[in-house]
């Protein structure tokens, strides 16, 4: 099951926050991606309503900003779960049973890549290399890294992360 909730309209406080972020970066050359990072750090995602605000402040068209936001897989247009589990799917991890780990994770969480558990606890995302290839397969929970992850170890990590795991 997935929970693809339509994001709620953002509040005035959030709009102010976005404008404050833009103001902070405005004078840097080519600041758009930095701004999007900060907006996502602050709001958890880049809401559609942020696009005109950013475009207006940077004097770009909305289309341009939308084109950029949608290009980068890191930026999301809706909030993710409380925690994000990223599993590396690249070759070095595949060589150490990464595929089995992926299948295990999807089964335990009941979701696919890019999806969030119904309780909105965990979002599962694919990542292509975490630079932990000498201790593969690798995973990252939020910014916490883990190497040589076995299915059992993953269960443990998820449990420790407080994520409800489907029986």
């Amino acid at each position: 099951m997935t929970a693809a909730e339509a994001p709620k309209p953002i509040s005035q406080a959030q709009k102010d926050e976005i404008l404050a972020i833009v103001a902070c970066h405005k004078d840097q050359p080519g600041p758009l991606i930095e701004i999007l990072h900060d907006v996502q750090r602050s709001l958890g995602y880049v809401p559609a309503e942020a696009v005109p605000l950013i475009a207006g402040a940077l004097n770009l068209s909305r289309a341009e900003v939308h084109g950029v936001v949608s290009f980068y897989h890191h930026f999301r247009s809706a909030p993710h779960g409380r925690r994000v589990l990223r599993l590396c799917r690249a070759e070095a991890c595949q060589s150490m049973n990464g595929r089995a780990l992926e299948r295990h994770a999807m089964k335990r969480l009941g979701i696919g890549f890019g999806e969030t558990t119904v309780d909105r606890e965990i979002t599962l995302e694919a990542v292509y290399c975490l630079g932990l290839c000498a201790c593969s397969p690798a995973a990252m929970i939020d910014e916490e890294v883990h190497g040589r992850v076995t299915p059992e170890r993953l269960d443990e990590l998820l449990k420790r992360a407080g994520a409800g795991v489907r029986p």
Partner: protein
Amino acid sequence: MYSIDHKDLGTPAPASTGTVTLDIDGSTVTVPAGTSVMRAVALAGGHIPKLCATDSLKAFGSCRVCLVEIEGRKGFPASCTTEVAAGMKVRTQSPRIQKLRRGVVELYVSDHPLDCDTCPANGHCELQDAAAELGVEGSRYANGGASQRGVKQDASNPYFVFNPDLCIVCSRCVRACDETQGTLALTIEGRGFSSRVSASQHQPFLESECVSCGACVEACPTAALTEKLPLMLGAPTKAVSTTCGYCGVGCSLKAEVKEETVVRMVPNRAGTANKGHACVKGRFAFGYATHADRVRRPMIRKRITDPWREVSWEEAISYTASEFKRIQQKYGPNSVGGITSSRCTNEETFLVQKLVRAALGTNNVDTCARVCHSATGYGLKHTLGESAGTQAFTSVMKADVVMLIGANPTDGHPVFASQLKRRLRQGATLIVIDPRVIDLVRTPHIEAAAHLQLRPGTNVAVINALAHVVVTEGLANDAYAEERCEGDTYRKWKAFVSDARNSPEAMEAISGVPAALVRKAARMYAAGPNSAIYYGLGVTEHSQGTTMVMGIANIAMATGNLGREGVGVSPLRGQNNVQGACDMGSFPHEFSGYRHVSDAATRSLFEGAWNATLASEPGLRIPNMFEAALDGSFRALYIQGEDFVHSDPNTNHVVAALSAMECVVVQDLFLIETARYAHVFLPGSSFLEKDGTFTNAERRISRVRKVMEPLAGLADWEVTMQLAQALGYPMHYSHPSEIMDEIARLTPTFHGVTYEKLERLGSIQWPCNDAAPDGTPTMHVGAFVRGKGKFYLTEYIATSERSTSRFPLLLTTGRVLYQYNVGTQTRRTANLAWQEEDRLDIHPDDAEDRGIADGDWVGVTSRTGDMVMRAVVSRRMTPGVVYTTFHFPESGVNLVTTENSDWATNCPEYKVTAVEVVRVGQPEAWQARIRAERGAQRSPALPTACSHRDEC
């Protein structure tokens, strides 16, 4: 899809000097340096298949179909992004190349419908062409694979549909929006296989930032973006080059017709004024020409309260002639007059003024330029020596600083605006002098370095303050001014502007512009090195319109910004042929070429040619005609293509004057407001129905070519000719080219103009004569036309129209992108989808003070009259200033405007009216009535949606 007769060369011409010789498939070819291999091949008559390249856009290199082999280089470079080099050996065809090209096209085809037979682009689809050329009939991949198809088409735009299923993601539309139009409303969203064209934030086109210029539609190589009209009417079979009938940019267009019906209008890429671009009006809003409202039979009536009676041309003409003769007999020769139209051709306006002067024997002829740019003619003639702008549009590409005064090009002159924006994106500095925050003050990638948001009516205060800074800070180019201008007037002017009363600090209280900002702007303008001024009706339509034009010329002369590319003083003309109508002798005091009627030599030249005695005294101007009508000395008027009742200020006064006349003849496409007061209605012909020429704001004479027969049987010039005949003054022209020959004979600046030369050169900028056989893109090179430039003293004199406690706000007027002038044409097109009424823009503070919310009905009252319209609460306005357009008759904007006018030319002061605005419940009864009438008349020129995938 580009014009059906366009041979695309793939990449734009390089801006280079010198040539390069290379070898293409064994032949030696010489092309300009910097040319792409693709273009070189095309220039040599060859052909390389391509999809993402088109010669209006920079090479992009994404489709990878145009690969070639180049000796000594590894791999297969894309010919669009590879520049030619001396001695290069290019191979455009080989089995290996063909295989690769096939491989790429097969990938395209793997996610593209193959039902070409039913596709609207069938026969004009570049993918279809490439596939056919390479022998790709299908795709071996396409079996159940991933697909981006099945996306709903977007028919929100009234003129075109976007069908994502047919899109090949070549980005031509996106690049056209960026590079050609400069709106940047389109993007590619997502990436990789899921890359999609998106309008703004994945929105329907109509809700996006798109301004519907159509550049994307033209750029599309498939039917992903297609005009709706050809979908309904069928593909065009013939393209006829002509000139746009809307604004003063004078875009060269190709009317693509099927039989006699225009199904597409495509800008001509060879057009010098527009460089292959057009706007929503020129490209799409031509449906009015065949609108059901068009009057197709002449009509007459004894009294304006009588119903119209359809009559034959003969009857209408002879009735008109007899009435004019009767009235002249009874009230004297000067009791009649005629009006020429800036929407008609040069030849037509020339004939009307000839008819008035020669057949009616009076100089009572005027033109609608009276109410727009008459001040330009006077001001530039007196200072520089010629009543015209000094530059070609392309000159702006060499400007370092652009000062834009009282003009809103993105709405009024969109195609010039695109060029200006291109230059500004390259880094030129922009100064805006305007009471409103117009788009160019800040629009994606463009920001004015200074916006002098002056109070309406204080232009002269600001230009004097700018001049003060230039002179007192030692920024003037004395050497230039002393050499090129009358030294004494220059020094007098310097002393005048140097006076403390003209300082930015002193003027701040008057104009509301901070002195520091004026100083900054003056320094930027003076620094140049190439500084150009572009201005519009925000300059001329004032009681000091002429003074301001002179002020502009003064500062340009003082800083040496005249007489070369990149500089100059350029009026942006409102209508397509304002310049031409003025050139053709439409003013009561001047013959063609701006020669005064009192000049005996000129008069005798015309008298000889026309075989008539001509009056030596100036005739009545339009407002004077109204005055004379009210006092009974002016009784009959022949009006070609002008709607006074709607367009001229103080409507009640105009109506009273017209009602007092005995014979008002209106020649127009539609039963315009003025026709309510007419006795004779002569059906006019649109620009699609006749041959002739228009002269745009850069003095460019361009051909208008007939693509369909006049709906009422006669072109306007033929009607004028018949009328002259009936008045006992026969005219014998079998074609407008003969009229041009006469103009050329009688007008020194036109001596070298012929239709044959226009055919050869495409267009000509006058003066065109023995001294300049191919025309004159830049004027005043080396010396001013009048000899020495003359400085005039331009004392700021406040208009008598002032805000008071009773009328605390100042109303100013302008144009929106989607409508044109009095709306006669655009209101009869699907442009109503964007704007279907005039609205009053008001600053939030002023709105709040009055309890007005966005969309409320408001009553606007001036000393002259009142009107009701809906309000738009907008930060484009500054507090104390409100703004509206006058595209819709039911708004009655000119009930409110005053009789004030320019001191020199009587150009009305549309731009300053003191008003009060209050919230009201609904429009006035008469407004509601006109609105309802118009609504009933309206049969949209296009359906708002087309589902060709289902039906076509």
